[in-house]
């Protein structure tokens, strides 16, 4: 079968329309999880089928697409999803955050601030922030309806009682416009402040769980906390060893078997941009080890 046998961006127009309706509803009710008739995609559930469907429904031929996984453009699944849309939609692609009109992401928000008109699409494994407190969907939907979030606060309180702090480091729940508690997908809590008041449209797609939700531009998303234990965005207490950035989220890379390690920006575009502008980190040499032996 040739690629021409498929519609632009793979999904047929009726399906895209159904997804766009869910997206619009999500934008109208920020943070509310809209059920949608998720389709089986040619990649497995868990690989970003929700994000891929949302991206497919939003793409127009003029778009410039960026795909990241763990902040990086060149991780295998990011490469695979980018290739999928190059093949089925023929859109232009980019690695530059600022140049992209639509960014599909898994587990990160880019370091470079997003701007008006951009769309950020998150891949979401478990859209329900209350799921690990209450496994039943029938119950959690009721809890959202009644704005009954006491269980979540009890959980956070128990964390503090037991560990002296809230022991959630990623997928840290936020309250949207004072109404719905929302799972921001497994981004590190370091990224949480970027959710709020963002000029870009943020869309969340959970394929297997058949849910779409959204944060329209400039929507408030407050990380849950207590007055005496305020939310803290945390990261490794280091600078990037390649570009020297002090305020970017870092990956830890094991470099030898004697405990040697280095810290590098998880956002590859941000790191490369800083190096191109002449910034240097502790281990940066002008001749990078481009090819592994």
């Amino acid at each position: 079968m040739t690629d021409q046998a498929y519609n632009f961006a793979y999904l047929d127009e009726q399906t895209k329309r159904m997804i766009r309706r869910a997206i619009l509803k999500g934008i109208a009710v920020p943070g509310y999880q809209v059920p949608f008739a998720s389709r089986e995609m040619p990649m497995p559930y868990g690989w970003g089928t929700g994000g891929v469907q949302v991206t497919a429904a939003c793409l127009v031929p003029e778009d410039r697409l960026k795909v990241i996984d763990q902040g990086a453009d060149d991780t295998t699944n990011a490469v695979s999803i980018r290739k999928f849309f190059q093949r089925t939609a023929g859109v232009e692609v980019t690695e530059a955050t600022a140049a992209a009109t639509l960014i599909q992401t898994r587990h990160r928000i880019p370091e470079t601030p997003l701007t008006r008109g951009q769309i950020l699409v998150y891949q979401v494994p478990i859209p329900e922030p209350l799921r690990f407190l209450e496994p039943r969907e029938t119950e959690t939907r009721k809890m959202h309806e009644l704005e009954e979030y006491g269980l979540m606060h009890v959980k956070l309180y128990e964390d503090i009682a037991r560990h002296g702090q809230i022991a959630t480091s990623y997928d840290y729940p936020v309250k949207v416009e004072g109404r719905y508690v929302m799972a921001p997908s497994p981004i590190p809590k370091f990224d949480n402040p970027k959710l709020s008041g963002n000029p870009a449209i943020q869309l969340f797609g959970a394929g297997r769980e058949q849910r779409i939700y959204a944060l329209p531009p400039y929507t408030s998303a407050v990380s849950l906390d207590f007055d005496d234990h305020p939310f803290q965005a945390s990261k490794a207490p280091h600078h990037c060893d390649l570009c020297g950035a002090k305020n970017s989220y870092l990956d830890e890379v094991i470099t030898d078997d004697h405990g040697g390690r280095m810290f590098v920006c998880s956002d590859t575009d941000y790191c490369a941009g800083r190096r191109a502008a002449g910034q240097k980190g502790r281990l940066w040499s002008p001749e990078p080890q481009e090819a592994a032996p």
């Binding site: 996984d69 490469v79 029938t138 945390s234 830890e252 592994a292």
Partner: protein
């Protein structure tokens, strides 16, 4: 070390090439053809069609070949293909009473109208490896009986004449479509049956087995199991009548379950139902047991907390394409979330160590 995670694109291309080579196996051994798989691996083909929700033996055989015999992967290939197909029409309900049966047995009556037809079953084979198959010997031609054009009445119909089994009222209500609408709970029986018939055979089997061992026991007898072909008819509005567009093979199982009555229902036999594409009798029997267990509420039984009674538990976890995707996705990179956990554990450990030091000092 840092560059090792780069070069994803080349790695993917190379992996795919290697996979293709592995799929083919030793080129000195003749390649399997799709018709060979369709004809000689028919039960695997049936399972892929049933769980893939697409009746097409050739495509199912192709999927099995492409998936190197991994049936869940083959189901996934079929599902992904099915997504792209337009919905042209809905067929009229198939009439299993008019089924041309290859096999039809009842465990509840020794003999009955339509007869007991053993058919091509493993049931009474001795499970001894047949080394003659290694030598690829010719198969003896089986004797055949003339086909009978008569309808084969359902066993549950006989019980119903005496009012001994619950009434199954017919309905013209349009069933919901699991593949076009998001799953909504609580689900009606039609939706549950849809989910079960495409659910993973192993999962449905395990649940059914658990009811037999007491986790939501339903005392099931196989009232009837039938396998055969039925015609598929579609209404053509321009013509004003329905037209036969083909035949499909189905397995249908109706269980008859002992029932002593409840607060709302009199003592009578109750029903469990299974209907699956192809010859898939293990699946059809398992499905009918789970169907019956899920009906506790409408029959006024108690919810004992058994997994097979729990609609949300069963329906949300029976789909193997969903399950395998989410299970296997944990092998994708998670180093960003892992890093944040690493920081958290280091911080918590530092605090525990500091507290211990302080305690020792006091």
């Amino acid at each position: 070390m840092y560059v090792a995670v780069k070069g994803g694109e080349r790695a993917i291309d190379n992996a795919h090439a290697w996979l293709a080579e592995e799929r083919r196996g030793d080129p000195a051994v003749p390649e399997l053809s799709v018709p060979q798989i369709r004809e000689q691996m028919a039960l695997a083909v049936n399972r892929v069609m049933a769980e893939g929700s697409l009746y097409d033996p050739d495509l199912a055989a192709l999927a099995i070949k492409q998936a190197r015999g991994d049936l869940i992967e083959a189901v996934f290939l079929i599902r992904a293909y099915r997504t792209t197909l337009p919905r042209l029409a809905a067929s009229a309900p198939v009439d299993t009473g008019a089924m041309a049966v290859d096999r039809r047995i009842s465990a509840t009556f020794k003999d009955l109208p339509g007869g007991q037809v053993l058919g091509p079953t493993f049931d009474y084979t001795h499970r001894l490896l047949d080394f003659a198959l290694m030598a690829e010997g010719e198969v003896r031609v089986a004797v055949s009986a003339p086909a009978t054009p008569d309808r084969v009445p359902h066993v549950t119909g006989f019980l119903n004449q005496d009012g001994l089994i619950e009434e199954a009222a017919s309905s013209d209500a349009l069933p919901p479509d699991l593949t076009r609408e998001p799953m909504e709970l609580p689900a009606d029986r039609a939706l549950r049956l849809q989910a079960l018939t495409r659910g993973d055979e192993g999962f449905v089997l395990g649940l059914a087995y658990s009811t037999q061992r007491g986790y939501g026991r339903t005392h099931a007898f196989v009232g009837e199991l039938r396998i055969g072909t039925v015609t598929v008819e579609v209404d053509i509005p321009e013509l004003g009548f329905s037209v036969e567009i083909g035949e499909i093979e189905l397995t249908e199982c109706e269980t008859v379950n002992q029932f002593k009555g409840s607060r709302t229902e009199p003592p009578q036999f109750t029903r469990g139902y299974g209907l699956v594409f192809g010859q898939s009798e293990r699946k059809a029997i398992a499905m009918s047991l789970v169907d019956r267990a899920l009906r506790w509420n409408e029959l006024g039984e108690d919810f004992t907390g058994a997994p097979a009674q729990d609609e949300e538990f069963v329906l949300m976890h029976c789909d193997n394409v969903q399950a395998t995707g989410f299970l296997e996705h944990i092998k994708l990179p998670h180093y960003v979330d892992f890093q944040s956990e690493l920081e958290l554990v280091r911080r918590l450990r530092a605090e525990v160590a500091a507290a211990a030091r302080q305690e020792a000092a006091e």
